[in-house]
């Protein structure tokens, strides 16, 4: 079973770009990579998913190298409301343990 590794926490300022990298060795060949965002006392919210190369939506971009052993969530021009915990999950993990995620703190 693939294990994910993310930084425990990150700090940023409003307007900056934030990149959160997740390592996921042994990811299954057919697994997608998904990212969720969670605010305090709320359920996680799906942000983005991808298989390889780059995916972009209105919220974030997701970069996945050819070997698919890692992925990077990119949040452009963060605001205070982006302060949250971000989880990286190979699709097969959606039914198991999220991990502790990355706690992002955005300051003025």
């Amino acid at each position: 079973l693939a294990k994910t590794t993310q930084p425990i926490s990150m700090d940023s300022y409003e307007g900056q770009e934030v990149n959160i990298t997740c390592s996921h060795n042994n990811i299954a060949t057919n697994d997608y990579i998904t990212w969720y965002q969670q605010f305090p006392s709320q359920g996680p919210r799906f942000i983005i998913q991808g298989y390889k190369t780059k995916v972009t939506n209105e919220v974030a971009s997701l970069f996945i190298p050819a070997d698919r052993k890692s992925s990077t969530l990119s949040l452009p021009r963060v605001s205070l409301s982006d302060t949250a915990v971000y989880y990286c999950l190979p699709k097969s993990f959606q039914k198991l343990v999220f991990g502790t995620g990355t706690r992002l703190l955005v300051s003025p």
Binding site: T34, S41, P44, Y87, K95, V97, T100
Partner: protein, 113 residues
């Protein structure tokens, strides 16, 4: 279109008691999963229901049981409560066409004293 709803919002129970938590999935969704989230930790998968049957189960004791009804709503039951069962209990639903995205409810905060 209502999203995933859960009740109650908060609950306080005493050790040894039993508790039932309820979840209504997002409209059009037929698969419901339950998660336990302790303070400062990520959600941990308890089990998943589809077609009124438990399809997958995480590493939780038999004290944790569930049920899914014909309208796809679900219940989580916990017997013989322990202090360590205090957590945020999250329900998530998904439909077949959205297999990569789960929609989470706001959770039920359970405190065991």
């Amino acid at each position: 279109d209502a999203g995933v709803t859960q009740s109650p919002t908060h609950l306080i129970k005493t050790r040894g008691q039993q508790v039932t938590l309820r979840c209504s999935p997002k409209s059009g969704h037929d698969t419901v999963s339950w998660y336990q989230q302790a303070l400062g930790q990520g959600p941990q998968f308890i089990f998943q229901y589809y077609e009124e049957e438990e399809r997958q189960r995480g590493n939780f004791p038999d004290r944790f049981s569930g049920h899914q009804f014909p309208n796809y709503s679900s219940e989580l039951n916990v017997n013989a409560l322990l202090l360590g069962d205090s957590a945020l209990y999250l329900c998530a639903s998904r439909g077949l066409a959205e297999s990569y995205e789960q929609y989470f409810g706001p959770g039920t905060r359970l405190t065991v004293t």
